[in-house]
Point group: C2
Chain length 889, copies 2
């Protein structure tokens, strides 16, 4: 079997990366390369971790041999030896995966100490308390991490002894106390494992190495990797580093520092340290660490060296570093350096600053800001300092956080709104009839429905926080309460919802306002210059259109017109239209709706003047605008028995009949979009008239309009589209005759059925543009009804690795993505110049954008609130594409 | 412009086909080639028809010139001339499309006659009555066909004159009567068209030619072409043929004949004729024609020539001919020959006989029988002689006809069955709870649902007639009646349903029994030797399995196991299982179901011994086994108000809660098949145990079993399938341990989501076989929910040519077919030897089979009753493939 063990110096002469050496090892080796004061050490590569598991979790002879050989060299170099009372070598054993991973074994310090060496150390340093303090630290870490005894057991013993000796803190414990602690720790190990604490340092070392490897497959590590999509194949490296002692004397200490402020991004050296301490003391919170600036006063030389090194590291890595250091008797040692985590606003500031400082290019700066970080800057957030536990969790349907009083009905919502109260609308699920309530609310919470349920779609469009499908809560509308666990929340109680995480909290949780700084627009400006993909917004209202323009959208890629039918004052007319017995009667009611829709279009076109606006004609099936069967059916059944109100019964029976007629087994695949409209062309006709009238009026009044793009949905066959296009052209000619104004327009189709993608070359013959409806396309390609599967089994699928991610969030490249490629490529081949976009929710997802950047898609369209994210993600995709492109060129 | 006009002799020197010459012209030209006695004539090709329409429906100068030139030659040849009293030429003008088409203009006889010529004819023949009879025939046909006056107007005049002269039949009308008729006909023409009957023969001729062309685009012709899928591009030819007179004297007559009996297929010369008659008299039914054998006695020479010619024609065309002839003064003329239409049983008999006679090959014989004809031999049919009008029409869900009393409930059905009554179950739609009623009924009629509704699928499986979605009827269950139009049909009334056409009749319509002859199996035997595609059957019960084997299936391609859950005595246990609160409780009920399913499997495996049986594990969502929301919701609402039965209310409320929990917005894309079973593996486990236990017991008892193929449905992702396969393998191992018998098995998947086809290469890694579920695949590819769209808009789509056909009947090559090709090809590339079938209903559709024959699909599976059709269609596809293949080679 291969063996890969290196001293830091050996490794420094190779080009190994963090994938070989792990993050920690890579930092140490790089610092060694730079000639910085790193304690000598050995690194065992990540590959050895995988070999270890192939070898039945045993360290094989060759590996052992190589470790020992390298140890020997190390001993020679530093003049210290394992188990040598005259000059004892102690080491730390540190894990180091390519990505930092909580849940894995971290570090065993002071390895090499034993009953003999502790006394030698006491003699050599003349500090017996130091020696036993060191020993007890080792026993505890080794017992816990390597031998698997729960940490609390050690804590209990320590507390007991502290009580017995009357010590308030660890600092009050004298040498005898530590001796007692060590004794009891060893007894604990014997009791729990049936084995003694190993005394031979080599045995300790090999056990620790095995423990690091094993920690790769602990449950917590596996789960962490799943959440952060880290491959299980990577493995962890092991670092064996000579101990230096921050707890040696008064000129010793240990600390962590950042080359800039990780919270604000400000360019200042930032960190904390403790004198007379070892690593874990700084984070343990027992003693309050000092700001690193104090070190300047206490150990000015060490501080100067540290500041200088920090600067060097930042220049070397071209990014903010998070470093660990120890000062032993006045001498500085570097124990770690890595790219520092930072807040969203710090990320943006640092990226722009570093460009100004000439440290990185604009491309690099654009890559430095995570799209999710950027998003976080654009919504109100739960204050990360708030320590709160959610009452219940649901699906995170629309991001941002909101606090408000619980209301259950549209009327309550409106009333509270008039009183300027903040409110959360709580419903089992919402329907078009609830629109006014949603509009009035600060946030929405439903116990049913998935990520494309009515509530989810409407609130995302409005940029309003929303949680759906919180199945752990039971709403009792009649009592005006909802229950979760054993808690009851009443109408008027304050709750907080976090639409980004799906968490619901009782009471008011502090929120932080979005902090949009000038640097955000700087970064986005750079991004705009670097991206291939266009970015538009999905916007259904003038407000959303304004937000889209404000956020830098290049147009509107999707105006859903359903809202123009179910706005509160219109729904009644629409219902009458649906109940109409003849075409003539239907047209009568459509004539009443037309001027309202014209006014909607006019507002949107005015705001978007000069930019394209894609209007999707009516897509929903008609029954969406009628009451639900579950509502009307018991109502009629009850009235039939009680005969309380025969007039109402008659009305309701008529509605019920129509609901039953229009009822569909699978409405998602029923009479929607183009299918509905070819049979009831008068509905499309009304909408098209409204569009052209609005545009013609605007041209007369303002001299300009938006660029009109009319979009037909649900197309599965070229002929469907061709027939629908005829209707558009007929109405366009009518408008031209009427207004004597030539309104330019395009007619295109959504590609949202698999067949549309597969027959794109036929459809393209008649189309000016395509827009992939990736929500519906994903549903049909998987045969997954999003409303049904997203709460019911997608989480189970992702947890069980049946799917790598939720395909409604990120485009499934192998299935849906393949259809997009077929559709875009064959569509453009059939009609050169065909414009191709996507308008499903994937348009705002960075991973999906990265995929789409590699296809012939021209633009994405997403929620106005996601536009900045999409602009950034599109730029990142282009940059990565160029890098990959050039590497293969 | 091109001109294509030929004399029959000229045309006989070319290789033009019926696509150029039309069917009639082709027959005449071929007979001319063979030297048979055909009256001289001219043919104008089909191409001229298309040119005519391009030229604004005008005969252009060059065409007119060519017609006149050919007419001149004809006149020279026969020594007769238009408008020449000494030797007048009369002609017939006959249309001739490539395929015989009712609804188009047929024939104008005696063209060339006018006020002058009629007198000349009278003088020349010495028979004035004959002359005026001939004239009135011409005026009537020309007035009706060329000048567009409704035929009834002429009939009315004729009847009036007959009354006036006291004639009972046309034969009683004397010369003055005909003179009066001609006078009044001409007046009618003047009145209706404002024009006189043209007297110039050339004018008559050119008008008649234009009328033939125009008849190509009459409404009836267009509709006929749509129904029979004849291209609009073909156009019609025109034949101008010298008249010969079957009405000239006592040695004259006219008739039609078949070279074999078109009804039985028997090899005997068969036909009818009338003495002293012209063509239309034979079919008009005024005089009773004589059998052609009588001609032998009356005109032995003419008869001998005719019989000889008939034999020659059959040998020449290698198929039964339908011929028209006229004898003029003892001389025989052939006026038409074409391939004869025949009954289904005649088609089979003739095809097999002709092989025995050495006239055609087996391949040709197999191509001679239409799959639909074969199907008609296998079901009871409405007697084609019955003159009946349907009360209402629905979707033809399952073929065959049935007569029975109307029943509305399962109980009524069972009771009537016990009394040995024939019954038709009438329901708004059926559910699994109605199974016993369906089983008891002779046929099923529903007012809702599509071609995959419960009723449709179940009855097709049972080979029982069924009509679904008859939306024109309203069922009032409470009154025990249904209404359609203004008729009311009551419980117990007799109705007849024709599942092949979707027609419902009031009362008993006579039916004819299926006539399966030995020749059917001969043809099918030849077909089996010629086809590439295997044919299996979909069969859910032992009865269906037996039928499958009887009909020559090579195995079972789909056992749906839902019936094993919803059989009447099991449904209650299954419902308890679904209502169970824990896995343990669920398993308790599953344990009760397992022995029942084992017994089902054992029966099927025994019947299919040695052949493969593909068992699809549970596919339906659980709510399918609970009452419908529309039933339980008003029940609970009512009980809540009345409080009549609180115990029942409690039970119903529990059921309602579970129904609401399991309710899905789009169940077709919800928690079904593999998705359900990965979350509730105990259901699959029970089924797999039952399968292996059954097979192991059979091996022990009989020494053999069927070949077990276990199939997983709804797979969209390879990992889903891999996980399901693990369950199968675990249970297989358990069975092996338990029985010490090694049951061989395969595990495969349905490919019925677009994503499964698109990722077939991944899925194939774990699969032994694929079976395309083309019903669901079509639904998802179009995003058409069959139950919703098939009644609602597919008919509209087909009528308006948006779709060329219903894609649930015939595979849509461009979309669904493309996915099948991708799936089959990439699946086999990933795993050579992968077996690929289809088990959707397209498996029994000849057009779909022709498409599948060109893919890498290995077999089709269809209803046991369609197996013979599929065997035949698969052979025809192979033969056509070879012919096409060789023509391109």
């Amino acid at each position: 079997m291969v063996v890969e063990v290196y001293s830091f110096e050996e490794a420094a002469r190779t080009n190994m990366t963090k994938y070989d050496l792990g993050g920690k090892g890579y930092g140490l080796v790089e610092m060694t390369k730079l000639g910085l004061p790193v304690p000598p050490g050995i690194v065992i590569t990540t590959k050895m971790c995988n070999e270890f598991f192939k070898n039945d979790k045993q360290i094989w002879p060759e590996l052992k041999e190589s470790i020992l050989a390298h140890l020997n060299e190390l001993q020679k170099k530093v003049g210290k030896r394992f188990d040598d009372p005259n000059s004892p070598l102690l080491v730390s054993v540190r894990s180091g995966a390519p990505f930092s991973m909580p849940g894995m074994m971290d570090t065993v310090l002071n390895l090499g100490i034993n009953d003999k060496i502790v006394e030698a150390l006491a003699t050599k340093t003349g500090d017996r308390r130091f020696a036993y303090d060191t020993y007890r630290r080792f026993v505890q870490l080794f017992g816990k991490i390597v031998m698997g005894i729960p940490g609390e057991e050690f804590d209990k013993i320590l507390e007991r002894v502290k009580q017995e000796v009357g010590a308030k803190s660890d600092l009050d414990v004298k040498v005898d106390g530590w001796i007692e602690v060590v004794k009891r720790y060893k007894a604990l190990i014997k009791e729990k494992t049936g084995k003694d604490l190993p005394q031979a340092p080599i045995e300790q070392l090999l056990m620790a190495v095995g423990a690091v490897f094993n920690s790769w497959w602990t449950q917590r590590a596996i789960e962490y990797r799943k959440i952060y999509k880290i491959s299980d194949e990577l493995g962890t490296a092991v670092n064996i580093v000579m101990m230096v002692y921050g707890n040696l004397d008064d000129r010793s200490g240990t600390g962590v520092a950042f080359t800039r402020d990780p919270s604000s991004g400000e360019r200042k050296f930032y960190g904390e340290f403790l004198m007379r301490a070892q690593g874990e003391d700084v984070v343990a919170g027992i003693r309050t660490p000092l700001p690193v600036s104090k070190l300047k006063e206490m150990l000015p030389d060490a501080y100067a060296t540290l500041e200088n090194i920090a600067q060097k590291l930042e220049t070397h890595f071209k990014d903010m570093q998070d470093i660990e250091f120890t000062v032993e008797g006045g001498k500085l040692y570097m124990l770690q350096t890595r790219t520092a985590k930072r807040t969203a606003s710090a990320a943006v500031k640092i990226a722009t600053d570093m460009v100004k400082e000439g440290l990185i290019s604009k491309e690099e700066a654009v890559l430095r800001v995570e799209p999710d970080q950027l998003q976080r800057l654009l919504y109100k957030q739960i204050d990360s300092n708030a320590k709160v536990t959610p009452l219940v969790k649901g699906l995170p349907a629309s991001p941002g956080a909101a606090v408000g009083k619980v209301v259950f009905t549209v009327d309550e919502a409106r009333k509270a709104r008039e009183n300027k109260e903040r409110i959360i609308l709580v419903r089992p699920e919402t329907t078009p009839e609830d629109i006014a309530g949603i509009a009035a609310a600060d946030g929405v919470l439903t116990s049913r429905g998935g990520m494309t349920s009515h509530a989810a779609v409407v609130t995302r469009g409005m940029g309003k926080p929303c949680i759906v499908g919180a199945e752990g809560m039971k709403i009792e509308m009649s009592e005006g309460v909802f229950r979760a666990g054993n808690q009851t929340v009443r109408r008027g109680d304050i709750i907080t919802i976090d639409g980004g995480s799906g968490s619901v909290f009782v009471g008011e949780v502090p929120l932080v306002e979005p902090t949009i700084s000038g640097e955000v627009s700087t970064i986005l400006g750079w991004a705009d210059g670097l991206r291939r993909l266009g970015v538009r917004a999905n916007a259904d209202t003038p407000e959303m259109a304004a937000k889209a323009r404000e956020n830098g959208a290049a147009g509107i890629g999707l105006v859903r017109t359903e809202r123009m039918f179910n706005a509160p004052e219109r729904l009644e007319i629409v219902q009458k239209m649906i109940l109409a017995g003849s075409v003539e009667e239907r047209k009568k009611f459509l004539d009443q709706i037309e001027p309202m829709q014209k006014s909607d279009f006019k507002q949107i076109f005015r705001i978007m003047k000069g930019l394209p606006v894609t209007v999707r004609l009516l897509d929903f099936p008609l029954h969406e605008f009628l009451p639900k069967l579950e509502e009307i059916l018991p109502k009629v059944a009850e009235l039939r028995v009680t005969r309380k109100d025969n007039r109402q019964l008659e009305i309701d029976e008529k509605v019920l009949r129509r609901v039953m007629e229009l009822k569909e087994y699978n409405p998602m695949m029923g009479q929607r979009g183009v299918r509905l409209s070819l049979m009831y062309p008068e509905i499309y006709e009304m909408q098209i008239s409204a569009i052209f009238d609005a545009a013609a009026e605007l041209i007369k009044e303002d001299g300009a309009t938006a660029e009109i793009e009319i979009m037909i949905s649900q197309v599965a066959e070229a002929e469907e589209f061709r027939k629908a296009r005829e209707i558009v052209e007929r109405k366009a000619n009518e408008a031209r005759t009427k207004f004597k104004v030539d309104v330019k327009y395009k007619v295109g189709t959504m590609i949202e059925t698999p067949r549309a993608a597969l027959t794109a070359s036929d459809i393209a013959k008649y189309a000016d543009f395509f827009s992939f409806g990736t929500n519906d396309l994903t549903q049909a390609t998987f045969a997954f009804s999003r409303d049904d599967v997203e709460a019911k089994f997608i989480p189970f699928y992702v947890d069980n690795k049946i799917l790598p991610f939720n395909p409604f969030e990120t485009i499934d490249a192998g299935g849906v993505g393949r259809l997009i490629k077929i559709g875009a490529t064959e569509g453009k081949r059939s009609k050169p110049g065909l414009k191709v976009g996507i308008c499903g929710e994937h348009g705002g997802d960075p991973k999906s954008i990265e995929f789409l950047n590699e296809t012939e898609v021209d633009y994405v369209s997403c929620s106005p609130y996601r536009v900045p994210v999409a602009r950034l993600a599109a730029a990142q995709a282009s940059i990565k594409h160029r890098v990959q492109g050039s590497s293969t060129a």
